[in-house]
Assembly symmetry: C2
Homo-oligomer: 130 residues x 2
């Protein structure tokens, strides 16, 4: 069994998230989502509209999400990868190169934007967060 | 086994849809979503941003959606209820009273807005559709 992991906040869950998760899940047999806690978001000067528990519940409704665990800090990735026997880390390509240091532990894949999703629609939704 | 059915367009899938579906699914063992086709939406003077196939794929990602079938016209509900042995029809309460004529066939439930979801956030997202 191959395990994929991804990280994010997934605030105000929408079809763009769904598409990203679907594509990430396709790299393995199970997908773990590591979800930024409200406290960690505060450290990043980011405030989500929905609290951690609700964001977690939303993710747990998705067929190809096997497990949701908390992201508490920037440093935990190495430990997550080892603990959960992760084969592949998948991130959006806005993080291009940022996690290459994990390549000795697992494959690292940066996903480009989905061609099928209008970036203007996504931008409208993203703007509603701020 | 009890079967629940609901109807809608579910354009630009978001957490509000997820919440509605979760609450609908709780009324039975399986949930059928009848999804308005693009042609039927045109009859209603409604244009979705995403075409039927994509809206269907989004719904099929949700754990508690058992089946997605097309809604082609206003008149098919009676037939759907009989064909799929539906016990309960669930709709948002913006449709209050509109489907009471189906009560001889199944339970008809109109769900109020979720208290936990800010109507202002939903409104922002809904406005992005137009």
């Amino acid at each position: 069994m191959t395990t994929v992991i991804t990280y994010g906040t997934f605030d105000l869950f929408h079809f763009g998230h769904l598409e990203l998760l679907k594509r990430a899940a396709a790299y393995g047999d199970r997908l773990i989502v590591v979800l930024s806690t409200d406290e960690f978001n505060l450290q990043k000067n980011k405030i989500s509209r929905q609290p951690y528990d609700l964001r977690k519940q939303n993710l747990e409704c998705i067929k190809f999400v096997s497990l949701v665990i908390p992201e508490n800090n920037w440093e935990q990735k190495e430990n997550d990868i080892k603990t959960h026997h992760v084969n592949t880390l998948v991130m959006g390509d806005d993080w291009n190169g940022k996690f290459d240091y994990l390549m000795p532990l697992c494959k690292v894949i940066y996903l480009p934007r989905t061609p099928g999703i209008s970036s203007s629609i996504l931008k409208e939704i993203e703007n509603n967060k701020s």
